[in-house]
């Protein structure tokens, strides 16, 4: 296996070359405003190393570009929302629980039509195909290029959504169409929100993935491109183009998976100290523990699988200021290399404190020689207090646990912390996120209600659906393993209704088969 993993963070773009699961070389370059030239810089630097002058099987990129677009309200396009399921749910139309500014930016038009299914697979109402055709014509007339379709109980029976896609393809073939059942779960509003956000990112996904491809080609590589997704697994670039929302939380997940890989620890707390924030999470069986249910993205409730993380404003670029002295939450971000004292700037950052304290040796140490010892002690104490509090909040068991300290700012993690049995640092830990991207596997998920089946039969049926989806997404079938299974009997439904969720993951299939 020869793979390049790239992580595009807010401050740095990291690239690593993995050969047979070992890090052969790693580089760190500043993230650029256009993202792609930073990737090209990192790739060129990586390829300059003789060890990297080999053909690679895959380039895997982890990026927060798409979630940042939602949070920062940039590069979003107008979307036509088609809800199928009337006459139920009519009082809560699409966008009803969105922040007003984001709804105004994204909502291009709303269509609510009859159709959909019941929990047991029966049609709820006959699908209003005439209404769908009328909607498609209006979408075409209004010049909308992206459509999100959500039908009630579509995870059980997607036929209303797929019929809608056929009609749209017929009448407005230029429009990109997101179907909610491709994004997941039972929960109409949250699934619809995911589809709407996805549709709003369509143009950005197309141009971003094309730019990633160009950067790879410009660096002289000829390898398939994958993007990492929220659960620490990957998808082919073509799929990522259609499903940008699936990459939303991949940065933090990658660093936790990378930390597990580099340390060989499958169960531990992880702190990833970047330039602006520290993310603290917990590894279980080598994967991040997931957040419980609904996750808000840019103020919108969705049902993505996201790692359960606490983020605090503490990183290498954090401002050091105030009385008493505080570290963060403001940060110089990607301007660290021009604004920090040790790099010739004028602002005292956490990196300057660490250099002055001898924790790390970067930049010009003489420029921090005059910082008073009381300031250094107070800043380090504040950083320690913040980490200690956050780690304690994320712990799910009593007793001391090992803590993996990774990321470019890991030098801010002290050698001892209460509640921590040992601080584990690993070679290449500053590029753990890129390592996590490089080792990522391909996954598939199913979430359905089964009736009149035994528990084992229902789980087996769900697993088979999840496996097919993983193979479709580029996994090698023989390598698939079940990551988690959850089953829940459903109250007030007849026929021993059981809702089963299964997730599987496996190795990327041979490039020839991709």
């Amino acid at each position: 296996m020869k793979r390049i993993g790239i992580d595009v963070g807010g401050t740095n773009t990291d690239a690593v070359l993995l050969v047979d699961e070992k890090v052969v070389h790693s580089v760190k370059r500043p993230t650029t405003a256009d993202i792609t030239s930073g990737i090209l810089d990192a790739l060129k630097a990586l390829r300059a190393n003789p060890a990297a002058a080999i053909p690679v099987e895959a380039v895997v990129i982890g990026t927060t570009h798409f979630i940042n677009a939602v949070v920062q309200r940039r590069h979003l396009q107008k979307v036509a929302a088609i809800r199928i399921g009337l006459p139920a749910s009519a009082s809560l139309p699409p966008f009803c629980d969105w922040p007003a500014d984001l709804a105004a930016m994204v909502s291009g038009d709303i269509f609510m039509l009859e159709g959909g299914h019941d929990y047991d697979g029966r049609p709820f109402m006959p699908l209003d195909t005439a209404g769908l055709k009328a909607a498609a014509r209006r979408i075409k007339d209004k010049g909308l290029h992206s459509v999100a379709v959500c039908s009630s109980f579509s995870p059980l029976d997607p036929s209303c959504e797929t019929t809608a896609r056929e009609i749209l393809a017929d009448i407005c073939p230029d429009a990109a169409v997101t179907l909610s059942h491709d994004l997941g779960r039972i929960g109409l509003l949250e699934r619809e929100n995911a589809a709407l956000l996805n549709a709003a990112l369509n143009d950005l996904a197309v141009t971003t993935v094309a730019a990633f491809r160009k950067a790879i080609a410009d660096s002289g590589l000829d390898a398939p491109l994958f993007l990492t997704q929220n659960d620490g697994t990957v998808m082919q670039a073509e799929i990522a183009t259609a499903f940008p929302v699936m990459s939303f939380a991949s940065g933090a997940t990658n660093s936790m998976r990378g930390a597990a890989h580099l340390s060989g620890l499958a169960d531990a707390m992880v702190v990833d100290v970047g330039g602006t924030t520290s993310d603290i999470g917990q590894l279980r069986h080598g994967f991040p523990r997931e957040a419980n249910a609904v996750v808000e993205v840019g103020g919108v409730r969705t049902l993505f699988r996201m790692p359960d993380l606490l983020s605090i404003g503490l990183g290498g670029g954090s401002h050091v200021e105030g009385t008493p002295i505080r570290v963060g939450p403001l940060s110089v971000g990607y301007r660290l290399t021009s604004e920090a004292l040790v790099f010739g700037g004028t602002r005292v950052t956490a990196t300057d404190i660490a250099v002055a304290a001898g924790l790390v040796d970067v930049g010009d140490r003489s420029r921090v020689a005059s910082l008073p010892g009381t300031l250094i002690d107070a800043a380090l104490a504040d950083a320690k207090r913040k980490l200690e509090e956050t780690i304690d909040r994320m712990k799910t068991e009593a007793g001391d646990v090992p803590l993996l300290a990774v990321g470019g700012g890991a030098f801010l993690v002290p050698e001892r912390l209460p509640g921590v049995s040992e601080i584990v640092r690993v070679p290449h830990g500053d590029c753990a996120n890129a390592v996590g991207a490089a080792i990522a596997q391909v996954s598939g998920e199913a979430d359905q209600v089964f009736r009149e089946l035994s528990r084992n039969e229902a789980i087996a049926a769900a697993r088979s659906i999840a496996e097919d989806r993983a193979v479709q997404a580029g996994a090698a079938r023989v390598s698939l393993k079940t990551i988690d299974v959850e089953d829940m009997p459903i109250a007030y439904l007849p026929g021993n209704a059981l809702r089963v969720r299964v997730r599987v993951a496996g190795a990327i299939a041979e490039p020839a088969l991709v």
């Binding site: 399921g85 006459p87 139920a88 749910s89 009519a90 009082s91 809560l92 009803c96 629980d97 959909g116 019941d118 929990y119 047991d120 029966r122 709820f124 109402m125 009630s152 109980f153 039972i186 929960g187 109409l188 509003l189 523990r289 419980n292 249910a293 909040r393 799910t396 068991e397 009593a398 209600v449 829940m488 009997p489 459903i490 109250a491 007030y492 439904l493 007849p494 021993n496 209704a497 809702r499």
Partner: protein
């Protein structure tokens, strides 16, 4: 003249009601979130809801008793719609040739705590500050009006695709539950219902009073403490005269459905002062019995509430998961539920536990 007693409910109070009703749901009743979304939209469209004291009802007033019946999971795909619940109420008016003076929820706990307000917004009549459970329970006969022996029929059921049904007559509340549940299942396991209409006299005699106000108060106390970075659970217990039972981490959840109910248990491993102990919670849609190291320390109808240890929000029996950090508290049950006849309907034996009800809040316990 009782008009002067009507009080406008603000949107801020409705937001608090959603938090408080979820806590009073004692793990069941479904999340009030979709009801809250409906009310936010109704308020944005200019609708307003007024709250009426049950004591201001005239004896011959008619009061509609509403609930959304069915599986919370189905409710996640067929979203609660204020017009549907209003239609179920109108069906009662047409059927009985009466005009309702006001509307009330069958249960204040969970999503149904919002249904009466949703109906009231469309119907232009007030909400009575009362319900028939003071919490949430799984079945129609587990109400104060059933304990009071009041007439259980007729019940209207409405499905938005145009199915309207009435259970005209039944011999008992249990039969009402069975007959209406069958219709509800055929409708797709969710239906808007309006229970047997109640007179003002009946609501004054048998309604559990001021529970809407209580839910709003609980939500305000919890959210206020959260804003001030104080302990929301301690604040709620002080406000409501509740008791903390246990704090720790969920280490096991076991669920099964029998006869359409979600039954099972959740086990909590103690932390802080409860370290070394275990609390097991048995549930049937709602939390029913709390067992500390095998001994029943709290039971239905006292309210057993599982709360997120950090923000004090309710944790439902459908959403409780391994690893959650929770604090279990008990709140006193309305007195009608703890009467000898009340315990026949909602005591531990009504849920299959051979336990004599012992309240954490009885006078003898209070001195201990």
């Amino acid at each position: 003249m009782s008009e002067r007693q009507l009080k406008d409910i603000s949107l801020e109070e409705i937001e608090a009601l959603a938090v408080g009703a979820w806590i009073l749901g004692t793990g069941g009743g479904g999340s009030p979130y979709l009801g809250l979304l409906n009310l936010r939209r109704l308020y944005a469209d200019g609708h307003r809801v007024q709250l009426m004291s049950p004591l201001d009802l005239d004896d011959d007033d008619w009061v509609a008793v509403v609930s959304n019946m069915g599986a919370p999971l189905v409710g996640q795909e067929r979203l609660a719609d204020s017009r549907s619940i209003a239609r179920a109420v109108r069906m009662q008016e047409e059927l009985n040739n009466i005009k309702f003076r006001a509307v009330m929820s069958v249960e204040i706990g969970g999503g149904n705590g919002m249904q009466a307000l949703m109906a009231a917004a469309h119907l232009g009549i007030p909400v009575v500050d009362a319900d028939c459970m003071g919490r949430a329970f799984p079945e129609a006969q587990m109400t104060s009006v059933a304990i009071g022996g009041l007439r259980p029929y007729p019940c209207t059921l409405y499905d938005p695709r145009g199915i309207e049904a009435v259970v005209t007559k039944v011999p008992s509340w249990k039969w009402m539950e069975r007959a209406s549940r069958k219709i509800c299942v055929e409708m797709g396991s969710i239906a808007s219902t309006s229970k047997a209409p109640r007179t003002g006299r009946e609501v004054k005699d048998w309604g559990i009073h001021f529970t809407t106000t209580a839910a709003i108060r609980i939500g305000r106390v919890v959210e206020g403490a959260n804003r001030r970075h104080e302990d929301p659970i301690a604040a709620m217990l002080a406000s409501e005269g509740g008791k903390q039972l246990f704090t720790g981490k969920i280490v096991d959840v076991e669920r099964r459905t029998t006869e359409g109910f979600l039954r099972g248990s959740a086990t909590i491993e103690g932390s802080d002062g409860d370290r070394g102990d275990r609390l097991k919670l048995s549930f049937q849609n709602e939390w029913v019995v709390a067992w500390r190291n095998g001994e029943a320390i709290a039971m239905c109808p006292d309210l057993i509430c599982v709360l997120d240890s950090v923000n004090g929000h309710a944790v439902g029996t459908e959403t409780v998961r391994y690893g959650q950090r929770v604090t279990v508290v008990a709140l006193p049950a309305p007195t009608v539920l703890t009467s000898a006849r009340g315990l026949e309907f909602v005591g531990p034996r009504a849920f299959g536990y051979d336990l004599d009800f012992r309240s954490l809040f009885s006078p003898t316990e209070a001195g201990a």
